[in-house]
């Protein structure tokens, strides 16, 4: 077992009056791929936003490499080496493909990922580099979003629903690229609705329900029934 690279303790999250997360506990071990599953609205995105610094947290609620980072701003957290591939891709529409990638590299962290490395991973992007990011197909946009996050050379990368709205063939491609992405010691958290996919690429899995962890375990040790129960709260 590795040391946890990220530890979350007693995390709450609110949108105005609405509470989306309730006292969540969770950790990510260094070098592992962790999957987070759960029904629509369970709080998966909110969890990732909390880690990335886009929600208001207490300092101690999120620890990264032993440091409390819960109260830092998103840009400070990004500089520490946590990158998020957001749900729905969220490219910058007024930036070209290459500019989207370049802005990902703004943190200036050293590492294996560079424009060339990203183009190597997704050759199609090099062909489209001058194009407006919005003119790409969904799958290509997802590639840009992933590339953009990689450009920061993060130690921990968070994927929010990378396969959402993509054709199966593209999903397959992206998942095929995943081991190469996390191969070099990077840790990853993957939020995924396709449970089969989630289980197959991850070593451990958490299931969220209504803002709480309803199941946790090694990916290969969980039965479909466990998951189904955790997923829908079917007792």
């Amino acid at each position: 077992m590795h040391d946890p690279i990220l530890g979350i303790r007693d995390l709450d999250a609110f949108y105005g009056d609405f509470q989306a997360l309730y006292g969540l506990d969770l950790h990510v071990d260094a070098g592992e791929v962790l999957a987070i599953i759960g029904a629509n609205g369970a709080g998966k995105t909110t969890l990732l936003r909390s880690i990335a610094g886009l929600m208001k947290n207490g300092a101690e609620q999120v620890r990264y490499r032993g440091q409390p980072i819960g109260a830092l701003r998103a840009d400070q957290i990004a500089a520490l080496g946590i990158a998020l591939v957001p749900e729905g891709r969220q490219l910058f529409p007024s930036l070209s493909v290459e500019e989207n990638l370049m802005i990902g590299g703004r943190t200036g962290r050293k590492g294996p990922w560079s424009l060339d490395a990203v183009y190597n991973l997704f050759p199609i992007l090099e062909e489209r580099k001058a194009q407006a990011s919005t003119s790409l197909s969904g799958g290509q946009q997802q590639m840009v979003a992933i590339g953009r996050a990689l450009m920061a050379n993060p130690d921990l990368i968070l994927f929010d629903e990378i396969s959402l709205g993509l054709a199966p063939i593209i999903i397959k491609d992206i998942y095929a690229a995943l081991p190469g992405i996390v191969g070099e010691g990077m840790s990853a958290v993957i939020v995924e609705q396709d449970i089969t996919k989630a289980l197959s690429v991850s070593s451990r899995v958490y299931c969220l329900q209504e803002g709480r962890v309803s199941l946790e375990g090694a990916s290969d040790a969980l039965s479909r029934e466990d998951i189904s129960r955790a997923y829908f709260g079917i007792a």
């Binding site: 886009l54 990004a78 007024s94 370049m102 943190t107 919005t134």
Partner: protein, 287 residues
Amino acid sequence: MDWVNAIVQGTLLGGLYALFAAGLSLIFGVMRLVNIAHGDLIVLAAYLGLTTSVALGLHPLAALLVVIPAMAGIGYVLQRGVLNQTLGDDILPPLLVTFGLSVIIQNALLEGYTADPQKMDAGALETASFGFGGLTLGVLPVLTFAVAVAVIAGLQWMFYRTPLGRAFRATSDNQDIAQLMGLNKAHVFGLAMALSLAVVAVAGIFLGIRTSFDPSIGGGRLIFGFEAVIIGGLGNLWGTLVGGVILGVAQTVGAKIDPGWQLLAGHLVFLLILAVRPNGLFPRVDA
């Protein structure tokens, strides 16, 4: 010939309006901030220019070397200290805060400089002229127009060709995601305001050379700036120049018909354009 003259003079006037509007366009484009104090900031820059040029015995244009950094500094502090806290979906908080700012600047200038009209002495530049195809053009208005084009070209280059410009566009597109890229939006917005007020400094000096000013004249010019920005389309800098020129030409041509129509014609053309194109002539194409 008279009509040609009206159009040429209107175009040059449009340069002045574009200069007024460029800074406004920048911050409107980057952070959707409606800055009511923009006109008063231009006047503030004019006073700063006056004070430096008198105190140091500089030509007003040389005073830019002092006024531009000073205004940029004011902009950065203002943005981070006050305006950043008002940004959001609601346009009212920045509207009211900049209104408050406008009142404060105006009255502080009145306290400091009295209501006396002031003018910057730019010597021969003010009255120099040259003939051009049967028209007589002033060197100063032509210079103003050229500076406006240069400022806008510069901003455009900065916006589309530099990392800072990328940061502006990214933050403007999506603040949250920009933060994830390691951009501190408070800082980015501070820089945007600093840049905006640097342009304001240029506008202020040219206003101060062109005509006399007193603390109260900022507000009157503000509306033309907004019109130029909106005609051109949100955050489109060349559009702002076009907007300024359309406004200037509408005014001089209106005035040619009847002097009472000068301002009215500008406003009517503005409304007409919006009636046909509610997002301005060159709206940004979002996803």
